[in-house]
């Protein structure tokens, strides 16, 4: 019998395993665990390389998998169209079939989970963010500190420090691109004269600016969308090391379906995907970290519950293209950092809430991604790609999960999950203040250009089994223990009490460590 079983090898599962390892417990980790297939060789700079070589393998893929958004009904966010990332969402539709209404869920059964394709934005939750949680930032801070030192996070002290928390252990921030540097310089010059409800500062990203732990610093080669770059942290790197060091026992190729519990511990039922045979594992404790949707499914299956609708939170989001007229006519900067460079916090009176924006260059995606959304006839659109895109950046603006009615998640007798969401109907008129503010910084946009991100495509799912002071059925207590269970803990974002307008990955990891620490203490006591 294992002392602990962790279901799921994504960011939460690996963080929990890290903490178990530190507490001297060797858990069994179970996951489907798809691995990356062939990864094409990587040029030093993709834009230079493209002038001399056929990039079909790198950008399209031998089975045209990079065109899935236009050739199939498998609609995924742009980064997931990269051929080498096909494994991240492989088989998801078969392993976790969904009936979706107004919700487009992205699921992963790969080793390392959706973090294999993340933008690595890692932000501490502060007390403001944790208002609805039965825990405070002090409960998470020690784990944020440990993770920051282990991962290598770029960032710095600036106007966002009050919102993003401690700057201890941070690596120096990333080099700003020409366009974003111009915007930030204007902000720094004028912020005192501008409204105090908007704050801009450097992003905190798990992407190295200095070599760390055997991983190289980021090389600014424009390749970040098209190959595995070890400067961008993936929980898989930590997992590989834990497995190599014998601190985690990893069992791949298994889909966990349910559990039962008695006074001796937990029995976990899984399906071996190679043989389709059922297999059973026993442990004293079970940590579910399979992602909010699949963790909830395992819980409902374990209760044979085909009636209850669980809530499902997601961050509604808008995508704002920002045109910088001052940069018009310049050539494309081919060595720009293609992920989040700046963050913006807006205490919005029009939306009556705090919003967070992620400002980034659009150099990383293929140019063709923009073709269909430009307004001209075909050849005119190609001209806009050449002349306008180099003067364009984008801001993804996240709203709190409470900005729209939560979705619901219900198990059917045939094993499918029904997810019902609500269309993204964010009121663009309320953006007027922010658009005026950005214009003063030299960045122009218009409500007609703004895209409402389809519900589900922000890929921040949470709150289906929320932590509460006094938990009821399908809720958990402050240690993550599921109501009614003795030894089953929810260690991923399903246990979030709320979803602030902030990338949740870092808080998810720190919370998983906190829960693992409490579970380890419980194991030691008994």
């Amino acid at each position: 019998m294992f002392e602990a079983i962790i279901v799921g090898s994504g960011a939460s599962g690996v963080a929990a395993a890290m903490e178990f390892a530190e507490c001297g417990i060797t858990p069994l980790m179970i996951d489907v665990g798809h691995l990356a297939g062939h990864t094409p060789s990587v040029p030093a700079n993709l834009y230079e390389y493209r002038g001399q070589h056929d990039c079909f393998d790198l950008m399209i893929g031998g089975r045209y998998e990079g065109l899935s958004n236009i050739l199939t009904d498998r609609q995924v966010p742009v980064k997931l169209t990269a051929p080498y990332l096909e494994y991240v969402t492989r088989d998801a539709k078969h392993l976790s079939p969904l009936d979706e209404a107004e919700f487009k869920a992205i699921q992963s059964f790969s080793l390392g989970g959706l973090a294999n394709a993340w933008g690595a934005g890692l932000y501490r939750f502060t007390d403001d963010d944790l208002e609805a949680f039965p825990i405070a930032s002090g409960d998470l801070d020690p784990y944020f500190d440990k993770l920051t030192a282990a991962i290598g996070i770029a960032g710095t002290a600036d106007d966002l420090t009050p919102f993003l928390g401690s700057t201890e252990h941070l690596q120096r921030p990333h080099r700003l691109s020409r366009n974003i540097s111009a915007l930030y310089e204007r902000y720094q010059r004028r912020s005192r004269r501008l409204a105090g409800s908007v704050h801009i500062g450097r992003a905190r990203v798990g992407i190295l600016t200095e070599a760390h732990d055997g991983r190289p610093a980021f090389a600014y080669g424009g390749t970040e969308f098209f190959h595995e770059d070890r400067s961008i942290y993936s929980p898989r790197y930590t997992l590989d090391r834990l497995v190599d060091d014998g601190k985690v026992v990893l069992h791949r190729g298994l889909l966990v379906e349910s559990w039962t519990e008695d006074e001796t511990g937990v029995r976990i039922f899984a399906r071996d995907l190679a043989t389709q045979a059922s297999t059973t594992f026993e442990a004293r404790t079970l940590l579910l970290a399979a992602g909010a949707i699949n963790t909830s499914k395992i819980v409902l299956q374990s209760h044979d519950d085909y009636h209850t609708s669980l809530p499902l939170l997601e961050n509604p989001a808008l995508q704002l293209p920002l045109i910088l007229p001052g940069a018009f006519g310049q050539p494309l900067q081919t060595d720009a950092f293609g992920l989040v460079q700046l963050n913006l916090i807006w205490d919005s009176t029009s939306y009556a809430t705090r919003l967070q924006g992620s400002i980034m260059e659009i150099t990383a995606p293929r140019r063709g991604e923009f073709f269909a959304s430009l307004p001209y006839a075909a050849r005119g659109n190609l001209a806009l790609i050449r002349h306008l895109l180099p003067a364009m950046i984008v801001m993804q603006l996240f709203f709190p999960g409470s900005s729209q009615e939560p979705g619901t998640l219900q198990l059917q007798r045939n094993g499918r999950l029904t997810i019902t969401g609500h269309p993204n109907t964010l009121d663009l008129k309320k953006l007027q203040f922010l658009l005026r503010y950005l214009r003063k910084l030299g960045a122009w946009s218009h409500p007609r250009l703004i895209v409402r991100v389809p519900t589900g495509h922000a890929v921040h799912y949470a709150g289906s089994l929320p932590m509460r002071e006094a938990p009821a059925r399908y809720q958990c207590d402050a240690t993550g223990r599921l109501h009614g269970a003795q030894n089953v803990f929810i260690a991923d974002s399903a246990s979030f009490s709320d979803l602030p307008a902030k990338n949740m990955s870092f808080a998810m990891m720190a919370n998983a460590m906190r829960i693992a620490h409490a579970v380890a203490a419980q194991i030691r006591r008994t």
Binding site: D54, P331, G368, A378, H387
Partner: protein, 137 residues
């Protein structure tokens, strides 16, 4: 991915015409082959609507005009999709680098391209609307 019935000639003509509409020159063989291969994987195209689609584009010379009018009137979405497919495939080839990325910046050329693009779009859209009506799309 499932395939649709093969219509080799129609597909080849389609590839040639779309490429010409986009880049104003003859399509490289490698790209033509890839475009046809990718088109066969298109799940959204059903045999029935595909036949009609090939009939329509087969009788029109100016596909750029037909596409812009179809895009704004939500008619012929398959044509817009095939234009995008060609753009993605072309972008991966080294000879197309300058179609997507300019090496040197020039405000005058940029402004010129934006104005010329707007005028061209107006003309192509008007022409495309006529084509949609005369071809009964």
């Amino acid at each position: 991915m499932s395939s649709v019935p093969s219509q080799p000639e129609a597909q080849e003509r389609e590839a040639v015409k779309i490429y010409k509409a986009l880049f104003g020159r003859g399509i490289p063989d490698k790209l033509k082959h890839r475009f046809i291969e990718a088109s066969k994987l298109d799940r959204s195209a059903h045999a029935h609507s595909l036949e009609r689609y090939y009939r329509i584009i087969g009788g029109v010379r100016d596909l750029e005009a037909l596409e812009i009018a179809g895009r704004y009137t939500h008619k012929l979405p398959l044509l817009s999709q095939r234009f995008q497919l060609m753009v993605f495939l072309a972008e991966a080839l080294p000879e197309h680098r300058s179609d997507f990325i300019k090496k040197r910046g020039s405000v005058i050329r940029g402004v010129g391209a934006v104005i010329a693009g707007a005028l061209r779009t107006g003309y192509k859209f008007s022409k495309g609307m006529v084509l949609l009506r005369t071809r009964r799309v």
